[in-house]
């Protein structure tokens, strides 16, 4: 084999240098020849929800018509990837100018310095008090106020948890529909679930009465009210852990009784439901499930023939009622310059003004906690069960605040698995879970 000659090496090297130089020059010229834009671009990120995406397109066009020097770009990402994408973007310094986020994620982003305090002047308010007290229902923004400063520009979706039931499932089981405004005790609710569970001739389950949710986020929305009703907390920031062992033991015993080993047990492992059984409810495989206000609209998009009803979240006999409260809110990136922040707050105020509050419900199904004249009456006219949600909003509580929220709540499905899958004694399950939660609060790992 003849060695490559020096001449050949020199020629190859020269070609590489020339190609690299040309490519670099072209890139340089392209960069500087890009015509400068005179418009300010405002980037907003949301998670994908088709009706919301459509409404945003409309609102964007309206806002741009009012502000010809502004271009609003709303980017939607699939729900399950949204927070991951948001975190990575902020880590890389390419976070959006404004964005949606659930209340449970607020503390993590706030502690990292991402959240800008509300500029109520840019939004047209006299003061923060004017903004919070006059615009919103009491307590709606509590989750987003730190040391007296509010970081939420408004709420896009305000939710509480009720029970949605499938009427066809009740008909199949021959069980009369429950009264709409009566909160059952948890034991009566479990008995109802057992009556609604149906089997075929070969003992295979065909319909499940109800089941705990094994998804960490939604599971917490269900489990936290139970523990709060019994007087405890999943996580108390002061105690850096869960509180009230007796409350936990009571809830653990109930969850054990509802699982396959307990007195209300439903035992057919072949009958699997999704971690969040909402779609199984809409199709009739599950008779009752925990649901938020937009649930009915979701049901109809999955099953247009769905007919259902709502009832309040059950309670422990002798204990005060409580339910979950959660919301999606608008935030502004603290890293963008002051002028863009001001623009972002103006955009948020526009999309959440009185006229658009109604549109959010009509076109998307989102309830917003705003003091808009005639809003509540309008909602009641749409659905007779909406009063249940107002009741839920009044007794609901936001989940605990922690930058390690996900690490802590990831122990909720494990707690239920200990009781309902691993047949662990309730007291032992509580002790194990308490250790996990304390560990998660210390390490940030679930």
């Amino acid at each position: 084999m003849s060695p490559i000659s020096r001449k050949m090496i020199a020629i190859i090297a020269a070609i590489i240098i020339v190609v690299a130089a040309v490519a670099g020059a072209m890139t340089y010229l392209a960069f500087f020849n890009t015509p400068a834009t005179t418009k300010t671009t405002l980037n907003m990120w949301i998670h994908t929800f088709a009706p919301a995406v459509t409404l945003f397109k409309n609102l964007t066009a309206q806002f741009e018509a009012l502000h010809p020097d502004v271009q609003v770009v709303v980017t939607d990402t699939a729900f399950r990837d949204y927070e991951k994408k948001l975190s990575i973007a902020f880590a890389g310094g390419t976070g959006p100018d404004c964005f949606w986020l659930g209340d449970w994620g607020f503390r993590n982003y706030f502690d990292s310095g991402v959240m800008a305090p509300v500029n109520y002047t840019a939004m047209g308010y006299a003061s923060q008090a004017d903004f919070i007290n006059n615009r919103f229902w009491p307590g709606a923004l509590d989750a987003f106020i730190v040391n007296g400063t509010c970081y939420s520009g408004g709420i896009s979706e305000y939710d509480t948890i009720l029970i949605l039931y499938n009427k066809a499932s009740f008909d199949r089981a021959g069980v009369p529909y429950p009264a709409q405004n009566v909160s059952l005790t948890w034991d009566k609710f479990a008995e109802l679930g057992k009556q609604l569970t149906l089997y075929d001739n070969s003992s295979k389950m065909t319909q499940m009465g109800w089941g705990f949710v094994y998804d960490a986020r939604y599971g917490t929305s269900v489990l936290e009210p139970l523990i709060q009703q019994a007087g405890g907390q999943i996580y108390d920031p002061t105690a850096k852990g869960p509180t009230n062992l007796t409350a936990w033991q009571q809830v653990a015993q109930y969850a054990y009784d509802v699982g396959k080993f307990g007195k209300y047990g439903i035992d057919d492992p072949a009958f699997t439901i999704a971690p969040n059984p909402q779609n199984d409810l809409f199709t009739g495989r599950v008779a009752m499930a925990f649901m938020n206000p937009s649930g009915y609209a979701s049901a109809l998009s999955v099953n247009p023939n769905f007919t259902g009803g709502f009832m309040p979240l059950p309670h422990f006999e002798g204990y005060p009622r409580s339910t979950a409260l959660y919301s999606y809110s608008y935030f502004v990136n603290n890293a963008v310059d002051a002028k863009k922040q001001e623009l972002a707050w103006q955009w948020i105020e526009f999309i959440t003004n009185d006229a658009n509050t109604l549109r959010w419900y009509k076109e998307v199904g989102f309830v917003e906690p705003r003091n808009v004249v005639g809003y509540k009456d309008y909602l009641v006219q749409q659905h007779d069960w909406i009063n249940l949600f107002f009741d839920g909003f009044s007794i609901g509580k936001y989940s605990f605040r922690s930058p390690y929220y996900y690490a802590i709540v990831d122990n909720v499905p494990k707690f239920l698995q200990l009781l309902q899958v691993a047949n662990t004694d309730p007291n032992t399950a509580v002790n194990i879970t308490w250790n996990w939660i304390k560990s998660a609060a210390a390490t940030g790992i679930g």
Binding site: P269, K414, A442, T443, I445
Partner: protein, 291 residues
Amino acid sequence: MKLQKAVKKQVIGLLFASPAIVYIAVFFLYPFLLTVYLSFTEYPLIAPPKFVGLDNFVTIFTRDATFGDSIYATVIYSVGFCLGIWILTPALSLFFNNKFKGRSFYVVIFMIAAMLGVVPSAMAWKVVLHPSLGIFNKLFFYSWGYTGQVDWFSSVNMAMPGMIMVTLASGIPFYSIYLIGALGGIPNHYYEVAKIGGASLFQRLRYVVLPSIKPIYLFVIVTSLISSFQMVSWFFLLTNGGPVNATRVLSLYIYNSAFYYYKFGYAAALTLVLLAISSILCYFALKVMSK
């Protein structure tokens, strides 16, 4: 002049080695050094790394209640996987080393498990080990009259045995490639001489086969041990550490710490702990087996 020539030779040698040096530096040395640095920081991704000294290591050994569970799961898995590899791989390799009708065909079938990727294999095992519909339970349990429920990946007691079984199913063929090759390299006259000398089957194994394949077998032992500590993808796909942390081995715990909980500093510290543990075990394994 001689010195100049020697230096020139060194430089030319370095130039030829430079692609490999750059590769190792970029893909191994830099990540390792970065891991060491991050292990002394709190790095939640959204905010820049913040130096916290030994806090991560202190947390691992004093405040992390689930670290112990992960170590336990890792030990159980490693023992099961490694024993399976160390015993079954040579046994099956010896079997396939014999000449019999259809040997080539059966070797190919045997090797398919090693050739398939982790994702399709894991998906296939999910179906095969389904509690009520899976063929495995039907063949080995229900057809013999067993009336209980064998849950595999959703059972706290069965999830880890299930993981050991599925990873052995692809691990044994993979490591057999080395041993079958090593066995094929043993000259036939070694066996003939031993037979003539009156050696029994066991004696031929002990005095002919084992010494001949010892270097390769040592390689299999060490790499399978290291591999058992690094197993992430199978656990991620089949159980994601559940149920109830029963299969949350340390490597998966590290992965989740970094890419699910965004605790990169803590994950880096856990990585160094895992490195220390596996290094010590490999050292002792080499020391024992090389005797």
